[in-house]
Amino acid sequence: MAVIRDVMAAFELYQPSSVADAQKLLEQHGPDAWVLAGGLDSLDWLKDRIRKPKAVVDLSGIAELRGVRTTNDGNDGIEIGAMTTLTEVVNHPVIKQKYGLLAESAELVASPQIRNQGTIGGNVSQDTRCWYYRGGWPCYRAGGNICYADTPEGRNREHAILHADRCVAVNPSDSAPALIALDAKFVVRTPKGERVVDAEDYFIGPDIDITRLHILQPGDLLTAIRIPSTWARAQFYFEKVRDRNVWDFPLMNVASAMVTSGDRIERIRIAVNGAAARPLRLKAVEDAVRGQPRNTATGEMAGRLAVQGAVPLQFNAYKIPLMRNLVKRAVSGVEEATWAS
């Protein structure tokens, strides 16, 4: 995949020190601008010369976008600046203690060096890893009128089983489902002002816009992610399945936050990623298991319900039992399998 073509095409690099300046630059350059966070998704596009922005706007010098703050909304939630690195998220004491689900998901991203540099804002805003698309093939997502992955010979082992619409690519983020399960809010700065959206509404499928995985329009910035205290210290479950234990994107992952009373599930939020073009919140599953005992039978019911309507491609049918099992384990709380090494 990683073909060294040559160095990146020339661009002008802007390094603003405030969100307002960054926004001015983005407005000025419109569709020719590229937002640079940690660069781990961005630089691939630029090195492969699939994208050739004229102006790259580097957010790394904007102090107001960094760090974790407690919010003053009286409920003890936190706000994570978009440029906070994944390592900072993993190590933050409040995130570890109260929102461990997010720390756990971020710790499973890629490799230590990537977590040291990759940002939470970039992690949720990154593009799909479908290799046809990233290799520069003129597919639907790239503005063409064919999907190269959804053909009898297409390499689609990593692709979607749910909600495909022409494009069968998946969202590759590990932190996204954890943020959905924690009922996080994403703070988006648009040229018209600030917008706060529910985590699950930040992500969009090809039915809404086939060229993007999220709602950001040119000129928009994600500035922060807020986590309310609603699910602080709940019972969390995160599991990621991948081919290698380092670097690999999730084939699929699951994140859940649950509050029980006695053996009953009182409240639950659950999301999976790697199944569709956006991380999926499984509302039907949440509704079905609420009030039920937390046991294997409930887990199995949840798993079956989760995969209803799933359609496999040539090489990814394994994702259906995988998703069924992940949801089952997240709901019934069975220990995940581990490798002895």
Partner: protein, 221 residues
């Protein structure tokens, strides 16, 4: 000025058919030691015409910036789209940092930026102005005494071809700064973002564990 010098150098090089005449390493070191500003010509043999033409055409040239590398202030001409690995190797002559994949997938380019391990192939040089860059060349003490982790690697003969070694050592040094007393498993996790093509990870870990021990001892003594 710098650009003119280097494009002249490039022309000479191209006319001579440089790959026959001088090894690229000799050429680069030669340029560096002769004190001529080393410009984009650094390592253009792979893509000379494209990069060269682009520079002239787009007019997006280099900018002279000062970088803090291995404790020294280094002034260097850097393109906007240049990665740190590129600057270190082909502008500053610090070829101890290796380029394997150029895609954040192998770890051979690992350096410390403000004490934290990063893949230098995936960092734009302009973004590290004002930060401290440490490469394998900057690890040993001024009198030549090796860093405790380097010594551990030598004592245990940790590597085979050693292409991956600078990356492993820098990552381990960064990890050990915050986790000075790791278990073998924790250290393995710490350097899990580094690949070795020769693949004796067990031996590498033994060497790095020895390095960790040396480091603890040297900070005691």
């Amino acid at each position: 000025m710098a650009e003119r010098v280097s494009s002249k150098a490039m022309q000479d090089v191209q006319e001579e058919g440089v790959l026959k005449a001088v090894s690229r390493r000799d050429f680069i070191k030669g340029v560096i030691s002769s004190g001529v500003a080393v410009s984009s010509a650094g390592y253009l043999f792979r893509a000379s015409s494209i990069l060269h033409g682009q520079q002239l055409a787009a007019g997006v040239g280099e900018r002279l910036i000062t970088l803090n590398v291995n404790g020294q202030q280094r002034r260097v001409d850097v393109m906007k789209q240049e990665t740190l690995a590129w600057t270190l190797r082909y502008k500053l002559g610090l070829t101890g940092t290796k380029l394997g994949c150029d895609r954040a997938e192998c770890g051979s380019c690992s350096v410390l930026i403000d004490d934290i391990p990063h893949y230098s192939c995936s960092v734009l040089t302009h973004t590290v102005r004002g930060r401290k860059v440490l490469t394998i060349e900057g690890l040993a003490a001024e009198d030549g005494t090796l860093h405790p982790v380097q010594q551990g690697v030598i004592d245990e003969q940790g590597f085979q071809c050693a292409f991956c070694m600078p990356g492993f050592i820098m990552t381990a040094v960064g990890f050990l700064k915050t986790n000075p007393n790791p278990t073998r498993r924790e250290l393995a996790h710490g350097v899990s973002g580094n690949l070795c093509r020769c693949q004796d990870y067990d031996k590498i870990l033994t060497a790095l564990m020895r390095g960790a021990e040396n480091m603890r001892r040297s900070s005691l003594g």
